[in-house]
């Protein structure tokens, strides 16, 4: 295996992808449309992928419950709209519920096992949360498919003969905006710095007075918020719909996005998500035998290939363990 791909390979790959998408979009209207709707899916994968990265960085664990938590919060949003609230009102309340819920789950299910267990114990606990939350969704709201309104009007924009759906553009916008806000929080605020310190070196962070266990809970809250955004965007998309297992597939794409990006890098998860979204959508529209059923396995192949060829992904650091 090529352990050390040369440093220019990642930028070159990305540049190649961008050029491919741009040139294709300029040459064909259909290609442009499919690219944009692929990027919209990709934005959803990116949000959920970043949520996975957040928790992975802090806990070294893949949170298998991330999708189920997102589904639950999406139902919460739907419920508030049923009760008569407007979309954005429900949206904001849902984010608050998600934040509190994420913290609560960390406190109740993760912290007690994390303290004495190993990584595997935490993984098992997260699978337990997955089962519990998915069960709760089915129990409260039943198995029927619900109609989740979209934040954006069903309209299309025409740019030079290409019709872009406003929903696709809005989904891309919201996903990217949420990740940018999160990035700014981490990069420019005291709280963000404390959270990064707690994730990087918990012991050293304690010595400067950072309340590390609170920072970890807080990280779960933020991850749940990102998941809620992804869930609300996904449920409004015609390919997902609001149903109890709606995020199962999305979670796999988000895994693939996070792994492609290197698992440690939020930026990597964003780029990975967008790339996977766009490429898979183009694949299914241009290769006749690739039906939607093949896309999930394709994402899985991407993930496995990255893990085999370059486990640190596009932007991950190769970890050096001192013995």
């Amino acid at each position: 295996m090529p352990a050390n791909l040369r440093p220019w390979i990642v930028p070159a790959l990305l540049a190649g992808l961008v050029i491919f998408l741009l040139v294709g979009s300029l040459r064909s209207a259909l290609f442009a449309q499919q690219t944009v709707s692929g990027l919209a899916n990709g934005g959803i994968y990116a949000s959920l992928g970043v949520a996975l990265v957040l928790i992975y960085r802090a806990t070294q664990v893949i949170n298998f419950a991330q999708g189920a938590i997102a589904t639950f919060t999406t139902y919460v949003a739907w419920q508030f709209m049923q009760w008569g609230l407007g979309y954005w009102g429900a949206f904001v309340i849902t984010l608050c519920v998600a934040f509190a819920g994420g913290i609560a789950i960390q406190l109740v299910a993760i912290r007690p096992v994390e303290r004495r267990g190993n990584v595997l114990t935490v993984v098992i606990a997260s699978i337990g949360v997955l089962i519990a939350v998915e069960g709760a969704v089915g129990w409260i709201w039943g198995p029927e498919i619900r109609f989740m309104p979209s934040a954006f009007p069903v309209r299309t924009y025409h740019v030079g003969g290409v019709a872009f759906s406003l929903q696709d553009l809005g989904t891309i916008g919201v996903s990217i905006a949420s990740v940018v806000v999160l990035w700014a929080l981490f990069q420019f605020t005291k709280l963000g710095l404390a959270m990064r310190a707690a994730a990087l070196r918990p012991n050293a962070a304690r010595l400067v007075g950072v309340r590390v266990s609170w920072m970890l809970s807080f990280g779960w809250g933020l991850a749940a918020v990102l998941g809620a955004i992804a869930g609300m965007m996904a449920a409004a998309s015609p390919s997902v719909l609001l149903q109890p297992n709606m995020m199962d597939g999305v979670l796999i794409y988000a895994f693939a996005a996070a792994v492609l990006g290197g698992l440690e890098s939020p930026l990597g998860a964003v780029i990975g998500g967008l790339a996977i979204g766009a490429m898979l959508n183009l694949l299914s529209s241009y290769v006749s035998w690739v039906t939607p059923q093949l896309l999930l396995p394709a994402a899985f192949v991407v993930m496995l290939t990255v893990l085999l060829v370059k486990p640190s992904g596009l932007f991950g650091r190769t970890r050096v363990h001192r013995v």
Binding site: L193, A197, L200, L207, V208, G209
Partner: protein, 219 residues
């Protein structure tokens, strides 16, 4: 594992106290017992308050800065972020503290946005002390600051510790293998042997005590 067996030591305010002894004598563990990073029995009292049941976060907030073994530098973060972390528990502007710390380490200014992991060993040790100073500590616990550093850098670091003590009145509990330098800067010293205090006295006494010097301090 039990590393300490009834260590009793006292650090008076405004002093530099050295904790000496061979590898495995329990020096590091003693520091950890103060900052709350190991489980301990017995009593740890600071400024009239008991620290015995406090975790490291609380101890840090009470004004005790611990520069641990391996310096506790956040090597992935920038120099500035490391300094910022030192003052993370305080509200408001940190400009004053930054200015104060930069009088000890003027070179940090130019390296502000550099990743801390790319600094040399000596620079990282100084960054660790600077980060601790950002905590405005009344007491500094520092673990083997001379480890792996060139003699000139070691001299510089001991000079800074003495400066810090003289200019700001910071109490220092210094763990060291380098007995000669430690006794030169400290007022008082303890020699640990397998988890117990073997000798204690003023630093001058210990430095002049031929037998102790030979058998415990190795010079």
């Amino acid at each position: 594992m039990r590393a300490l067996h009834g260590v009793t030591l006292e650090v008076d305010e405004g002093q530099i106290v050295a904790l000496l002894g061979a590898n495995g004598a329990g020096k590091t563990t003693t520091l950890r017992a103060v900052s709350g990073t190991v489980r301990r029995e017995g009593e740890v009292t600071y400024d009239g308050k008991s620290l015995t049941h406090q975790g490291p976060e609380t101890v840090a907030r009470l004004g005790i800065a611990h520069v641990p073994e391996g310096r506790g530098t956040f090597s992935e973060l920038t120099v500035w972020e490391n300094l910022r972390l030192g003052a993370i528990t305080r509200r408001g502007s940190i400009d004053e503290d930054l200015k104060r710390v930069l009088t000890f380490f003027p070179w940090l200014e130019k390296r502000k946005s550099q990743q801390a992991g790319t600094l040399s060993g000596g620079e990282q040790q100084m960054l660790a002390i600077a980060r601790a100073m950002m905590q405005r500590p009344r007491m500094l616990l520092i673990d083997e600051p001379s480890l792996g550093l060139a003699p000139l850098v070691v001299t510089e670091i001991f000079r800074i510790l003495r400066d810090l003590n003289e200019r700001e009145g910071t109490t220092v509990l210094l763990v060291e293998q380098n007995a000669r330098n430690s006794l030169a800067v400290s007022n008082h010293a303890y020699v640990l042997e397998t988890g117990r205090v073997a000798y204690s006295g003023t630093s001058d006494e210990l430095a002049q005590h031929e037998a102790i010097r030979r058998s415990y301090l190795g010079y």
